[in-house]
Symmetry: C2
Subunit: 222 residues, 2 copies
């Protein structure tokens, strides 16, 4: 399978544009835990995910993290190519959350195509709007949902992504995703356990009452 | 002055595109306090600011607000035209923060132009990336800056926008901007007053020590 099978608007590109992508995009494998992009400092290129999972997050001066979105098969990461647009002024880190195979498209090649092709430019607009909407959703969560709801929501999302109720997660890891401290997460998970919603063992959180976690997350909407 | 003098990439449009914009964009005045857009429910159109100031914010179920960005002369608001893109899934409210004169461009007209013109599509990309960066900045503030720093930063920003150290602001109003409660803001402003940084009177916050507010905001960077 080549990049043509993964690039969403392939058919709308000209032959010359297709040839440039085929010639310049590099298929790379990244081990779980590899940092693919370090924010505006480097301009790694656009990342088009073939298999695996990437995580985009921001990092505070004190080293706290918060996950802003995940990228799955056929998703495209723009913020690893901050030199693509003048108006990208935010530092977004990207790491491989699983072993991943990714097409890396050089920013200058994509930029050239985006300046020629109205289809590519508008596809980029849709990607950007989609990420913007993800971030707005997250902002609402942070501002207006209490942490118990955010932890419940995170566990349910993980269970869906991994397709299992037995999640390999450390308390430290959950804290990183949610921008808080390990101790806070440990306290919350113990509360969930005492309520019979999860079962904790070393490096594992098992969801044993998903309907209640769901209900907790949805809160007063029920 | 017509829309040609305010639309940023006018010269890059074809004559036909320019004619459609001139014919379809409506110049409207909005009194301070008017809600121009209510999120995804309506699709007001793109707003191009001639004079005045708009405020984009989100609203919780309980009626709490948080300001996400401001729009000044020649800025363009995309999120008042949520039907422009499928991927816009967030509800952003837009209100006139001052009496404002605005060009309202119907979403379907802009969409048509964006699908024809690579310049318009890429301009839209830059606007989107710029708003995305604003929101990421705000997220970092919320996650990692304490409220005293956020209030100091907000007051300094207002002073710059209004070009005065004597700000007409209610505590309720500041709370709305920052997504918190009036009581919390009142307590913080009284603390600032006791420290000699501001002077409070009815409906007015006067900044009397801007260098210290600046220093407070910048925190341990100093």
């Amino acid at each position: 399978m080549g990049i043509r099978d993964y690039f969403p608007i392939w058919e709308k590109l000209t032959l010359s544009q297709q040839e440039r992508l085929t010639a310049c995009a590099v298929n790379k494998c990244f081990k779980k835990g590899t940092i693919l992009s370090n924010g505006t400092a480097d301009c790694t290129g656009l990342l088009l995910i073939q298999t695996g999972r990437l995580r985009a997050y921001i990092l505070s001066e004190e080293g706290r993290e918060i996950t802003i979105y995940r990228l799955l098969d056929m998703d495209m990461c723009l913020f690893s190519a901050s030199c693509l647009m003048n108006s990208i002024r935010c530092d977004i880190m990207v790491e491989a959350e699983k072993d991943s195979t990714v097409w890396v498209i050089p920013a200058e090649v994509y930029k050239e195509i985006m300046e020629e092709s109205v289809a590519a430019a508008n596809y980029t607009n849709e990607v950007m709007a989609s990420r913007f909407s993800d971030v707005m959703w997250l902002m609402e969560q942070i501002m207006w949902k209490s942490l118990d709801k955010r932890v419940a929501s995170f566990l349910m999302e993980e269970a869906a992504l991994e397709d299992t109720a037995r999640l390999r997660l450390t308390h430290e890891g959950i804290a990183h995703h949610l921008g808080t401290h390990r101790e806070v997460i440990t306290r919350m998970l113990r509360y969930f356990q005492s309520e019979g919603m999860v079962k904790l063992s070393r490096g594992v959180v098992e969801l044993i009452d998903q309907p209640r976690l769901q209900k907790l997350y949805e809160g007063n909407k029920m």
